[in-house]
Symmetry: C2
Subunit: 459 residues, 2 copies
């Protein structure tokens, strides 16, 4: 164990905690492209979005100008339950890797949802409550978002209806029971409760469901039930705004000890964690104040940044939601099985897509066996059992630290440890038994998804 002055874990005091979210769009010269109505190919207005989303969240979604958004007192109160999350100096990992690099990770897994998803769940539930709504609907696949939303709704006394992809509902009964313990109703999707569910079941009686179908059901219930709106845990601009609390806390903690990161690494599925972690650093970069190397890590099985196309596409595989301009593999792309369920999204946050397109960040992909190798090494060294999603960032952080060991550079490496792997032990079992395989789509497979891109708007 090192005796350096930087503590093992940096916790902020309540006074040091950020009081505002940071909206990185305010500092972007090229703003992310607007959401577009798939019928008219015109930008969605607040009025267009009002039947689906809460009013204040729509305002946040469309606001590309306000740099600092005060975090409401009630949300700050809830954040106190599980925030600040620790910024951990990975002394043990550095020692095991025999690297001169200094490695830090922001650990978001120390709450019952097991991930950073709670940061946006409480914000979205709060605005729904403030609008006088009775409840919210959402979909969940892996279950982290559904769990987080259930917790937030339980706290605020809001009804929560979760449509859970049927195969996950059956194969992840524990996630389901956590949500039920928090008072959410959890319905396997497709269900007989909605028109779209009944239609899909009639056409495909044996289907085990899909995220696209679950989104469609959640949106249908939200728009057809008085007092309900739909909420989403990633991709959207508003989600990145709420998740900026991760990066802000990280920056305050680093500044406290005069640490300037050289490399910032995050896993990327829809972009909620990566976008949140990097936002204040990206802000400095955009304003020309400081430079950082920023690396997005995605699964090789679902490589939207590294092998996708920057184009308008549907966010849902059901193709009922607005179009977003993003790096995408096509809404019809079906990723081969990968245990990092939270990274199996065909698209990417429009904000991050624009930043990547404009050269402000890099992206790499990693294969899952290599990711689990890093996960196991990390667990044994740092104690924490990481989620498969988070382990993508671990893998690349280790790779970078090894490079430092070769060059002798004492770089500061910061990565986001988004969550824990307690509900991913089927995957760990496969890895432990040596039966885990990698699935990298061929160019031909990718071409199928990309061929299905919708007509592109011209404005």
């Amino acid at each position: 164990m090192s005796n350096e002055k930087i503590p093992y874990k940096i916790y902020l005091t309540e006074e040091e905690m950020p009081k505002n979210w940071y909206n990185v769009r305010a500092d972007m010269k090229v703003k992310p492209a607007p959401l577009v109505n798939p019928g008219t190919l015109q930008p969605m207005t607040a009025a267009d979005l009002a039947p689906v989303f809460c009013d204040e969240l729509i305002a946040q979604e469309l606001d590309n100008d306000t740099q600092l958004v005060p975090i409401p007192e009630e949300i700050l109160g809830f954040y106190k339950m599980y925030r600040p999350s620790p910024l951990v100096r990975a002394y043990c990992l550095e020692e095991k890797l025999d690297t001169p690099a200094h490695i830090y990770y922001k650990f978001e897994g120390n709450n019952t949802s097991g991930s950073h998803k709670l940061n946006s769940a409480i914000a979205q539930a709060y605005y729904a409550k403030k609008q006088g709504l009775k409840g919210v609907t959402t979909e969940t696949g892996a279950g982290q978002w559904g769990t987080a939303l259930s917790m937030a709704c339980a706290y605020l006394g809001l009804d929560c209806k979760v449509y859970m992809v049927k195969v996950s509902y059956e194969q992840k009964p524990f996630r389901r029971e956590v949500m039920r313990t928090y008072g959410a109703s959890v319905t396997p999707s497709p269900s007989m409760e909605t028109g779209v569910g009944r239609k899909i079941l009639a056409e495909h009686p044996g289907t085990t469901g899909s995220l696209g179908c679950a989104i469609s059901e959640a949106v249908e219930v939200a728009t057809s039930t008085p007092g309900y709106r739909y909420v989403l845990g990633s991709v959207l601009n508003q989600v990145l705004l709420h998740q900026s609390v991760i990066g802000l806390e990280t920056k305050i903690a680093l500044d406290k000890y005069g640490i300037v990161p050289d490399i910032i690494i995050g896993c990327a599925g829809g972009g909620s964690n990566l976008g949140g972690l990097i936002s204040p650093f990206m802000g400095e970069k955009l304003r020309g104040e400081r430079d950082y190397r920023i690396i997005a890590v995605e699964p090789a099985s679902c490589p939207s940044f590294t092998r996708g196309k920057f184009a308008y596409d549907f966010c849902d595989t059901g193709m009922i939601c607005p179009l977003a301009k993003m790096y995408t593999l096509g809404a019809g792309f079906i990723p081969s099985p990968n245990h990092a369920g939270g990274l199996r999204f065909h698209g990417m946050s429009p904000v991050l897509s624009q930043l990547y397109h404009d050269g402000y960040m890099e992206a790499v992909s990693a294969e899952q066996t290599a990711v689990f190798e890093a996960a196991e090494f990390f667990a044994r060294t740092e104690g924490i059992l990481p989620a498969p999603e988070s382990s993508h960032a671990i893998k690349v952080a280790i790779d970078e630290a090894k490079k430092c060991a070769e060059t002798g550079e004492a770089k500061n490496i910061v990565f986001g440890l988004t969550g824990t792997g307690y509900f991913d032990l089927v995957a760990y079992e496969q890895y432990n038994n040596g039966t885990m395989t990698d699935h990298i789509p061929t160019d031909e497979e990718l071409a199928v998804g990309l061929a299905g891109l919708p007509a592109q708007p011209e404005f």
Copy 2:
């Protein structure tokens, strides 16, 4: 959310952390009775214990005099990975209960083992390593202890052989996989690897195992394999010594803000958590410096304190270990099913047993449906999904806070939240479905276990 000056969570700085364990036996006027050889009925000496336990741990086990034991530097280093654990002010719970009481809980679940067990696991693994051993053996039922020991051994590069009760091995595959991820070998017990396992399998071919049998196998392997010793996660004096870090941190955090607890509550199975939490407070009480109400909470299905007998008994159901003087239901007592696996031990720590016998603490029992009701209420209010074991303390803390609401007293209530319930969702599912039942042993059932007590030593 309250605006009082006491923060939501009190974290100690590295400088404030305890540097010594506290040995409560040093301040006990009546010392706990010694372990006794079941054959000779004479106290076990260090030499008698040497084939089973590590030398330094035997010294700690037998030392009733040293008050402060320095925590080795290496263990302090490991503690930094997950300690200090937060002392949380339960503002949300107080508000929901509308009580003038101030409720605090020491949360030990924020590490991958999911409980306080890691505090002693690292200590025991450290002394094994220091003695130059190759590895350690142990048994595990619910799996928290096995997980904690696997983590500690992975960190120190020590081999770890876990004998897991076969029914748990099969029904809790996730726990098993966490241990394997940390590099432990996990063997379902009874196994064909040991003499005792083969004997039991020959006599009872279809048996699903028992904790007593797993202990017997682990001890046999430890004593017959060069370079191995056996380690145990509860009951023993040494374990309470290591776990005193919980209470010491709690006391330092409370002292920092001038808070004096009126009531201290902990769940009690073998006593590792309760003994650790209360130790420095009990010390003050024993030395006559201050008085506290201290309450042990045990399951109504396994009521060793409230309905057991204070007598010498075997610690294991296999009846191969030394006799300990403790509150016991008899080594042959088979508790009816209760999901709090960590509280299903027929006996109790000899230290706590003596203190209870001498009137220094109270004990109550709780039925599991009431415990899960408290657990769900707590989860929805404070965010954390508690382990069933921990929820026994939650239940009584809520009861005491409700009494304060009636009397108007602003008592300070401190309880131990020993762990998380991520691996107990089968139990939560039963509770959510309304199919959970209570099992309270009849007087006749208790009489059977107590009738099997061994001959009592006279010295």
